[in-house]
Symmetry: C2
Subunit: 282 residues, 2 copies
């Protein structure tokens, strides 16, 4: 799939059949070249190093919550967010042809996918979760290993791709299971030239004094700018201090958000605009 | 360890040798009876059902961030937070006596512990992480299995307890690695009658309108009440809506926090005071 001497279009985490690949196809189409990366961090590296024009990583799941590794990499890597997509996630329990559910003892999948299927492990206490780095890769390995006591959790698409059989379909805890993926690039220019409502992702630190976060959020509220999401992450080496990630409605280069960011910069340390892009969430 | 027909003093997650047990001893002393639970959720169940007077669960690590399962269980279970302790975490890579690092292929530990040691897996790409539900239990199983290609990540205390040998000490990514544990009880009465500075943990929902969160945080800021931590978690079945967990300085029954909570109740839905307790963080 990799064109010699030329950058790949998009890097994603996982192997063919992964949800990240499905999101990548949604962003860039079936025809764009793809680079399958082992870890989220490798996707960032591929984009930063120019091996791929774009990168696709999950940032949030509506059952499990924020993907910490993605948030942390956004802080440490010089990339921009240029788009987002929301993917409906349904998981299947998959094993080699002929394997019966009663024989399965180990269930392999990405930790986030395992966390989305806690009910399965509650209902089947004999199952031990095993956490490799991806879902479709777990299917590939379980099938290749010939194990009769192992299964994997992944998309039905992965079962088809690797010749697995679906033991249980829809093993996720809740049907309203969506993952939001972001599209990364070195170049901040967003993909879309259309009139879709825009969202802006920001990253900042705060002085530890009463009212510091209230002041920042108040600056947005005063101008009627809607807060979509707030996330805080620990700062390594500074126990119990946090970095804040805030998504707001609007484009950083357009009023009123543009003016508000001048105000917010005075109230924060190291404010970064991670990107303004077409919003895919309500 | 379990006294017949009588409630255990404290339930914790993991097996003997777990960091949760160390926190439990810190809270309740060596002499208090302890119940080792397989999952965080089992600790909550033991407290709610009255099988244990107290429960101990981790809520935050200074490298990895918030423990989502604990936050989610606080929302769904009828328990109070009555104390907190901060534990310094150092991890060792442990294997059966005689096993060499070069022979190790699989490394077993709790997902949170694995996430705290990402550098180890970057430096040793031949190692595959495997994620059972606890650290000390991983040591016990790796030693008991007799595997010569497996190791576990846990405390040196666990190595001693189960006869393992330390291959590498201090495999965590950063020395400033602390986990904050909370003490749960059905009874909201805090443990300490002393004059330690107090902290209050709150849980609430918000109407989705611009400025809703800014209004709540502004209510605290106006009265000079310091925000210690904010966490948002998804609401299952309501994609891209969130519950907010806020820790503030002060006691919910004492002015000025008491009055402020009347104001906050007007601005939020389903406000719950999870507990006021002696603070262990700066």
């Amino acid at each position: 799939m990799r064109a010699a001497m030329e950058a790949i279009d998009t890097a994603f985490q996982g192997v063919p059949g992964a949800f990240g690949e499905e999101a990548t196809i949604g962003f860039r189409g079936e025809g764009a070249t793809r680079l399958a990366c082992k870890r989220f961090d490798d996707v960032f590296t591929a984009v930063v190093a120019g091996r791929a024009h774009y990168g696709v990583v999950p940032i949030e799941n509506t059952l499990v919550g924020s993907v910490h590794e993605t948030y942390d990499a956004l802080a440490s890597r010089d990339v921009r967010i240029v788009g987002e997509r929301v993917l409906r996630i349904t998981h299947a329990l998959i094993a080699a042809p002929g394997v019966k559910l009663a024989d399965v003892r180990r269930v392999h999948s990405h930790p986030v996918a395992l966390a989305q299927c806690e009910g399965l492990f509650r209902d089947h206490p004999e199952l031990e979760p095993v956490a490799p780095f991806n879902t479709a890769g777990a299917v590939r390995e379980v099938i290749a290993s010939g194990a009769r006591d192992a299964a994997a959790i992944a998309s039905k698409r992965a079962a088809t791709l690797y010749g697995g059989e679906v033991l249980i379909d829809g093993v996720e805890d809740h049907a309203a299971n969506f993952t939001r993926f972001i599209l990364l690039a070195r170049d901040p220019t967003p993909l879309e030239a259309d009139a879709a409502p825009r969202k802006t992702s920001l990253l900042f630190g705060l002085e530890h004094k009463p009212g510091a976060l209230a002041g920042v959020l108040g600056a947005f509220a005063q101008r009627g700018i809607d807060l979509v999401k707030i996330e805080s992450r620990p700062i390594a080496g500074k126990p119990f201090e946090y970095l804040f990630y805030v998504d707001v409605r609007g484009d950083a280069s357009i009023s009123p958000l543009r003016e508000t960011l001048h105000d917010v910069a005075q109230r924060t340390s190291a404010l970064r605009v991670l990107g303004s892009y077409a919003s895919a969430t309500p």
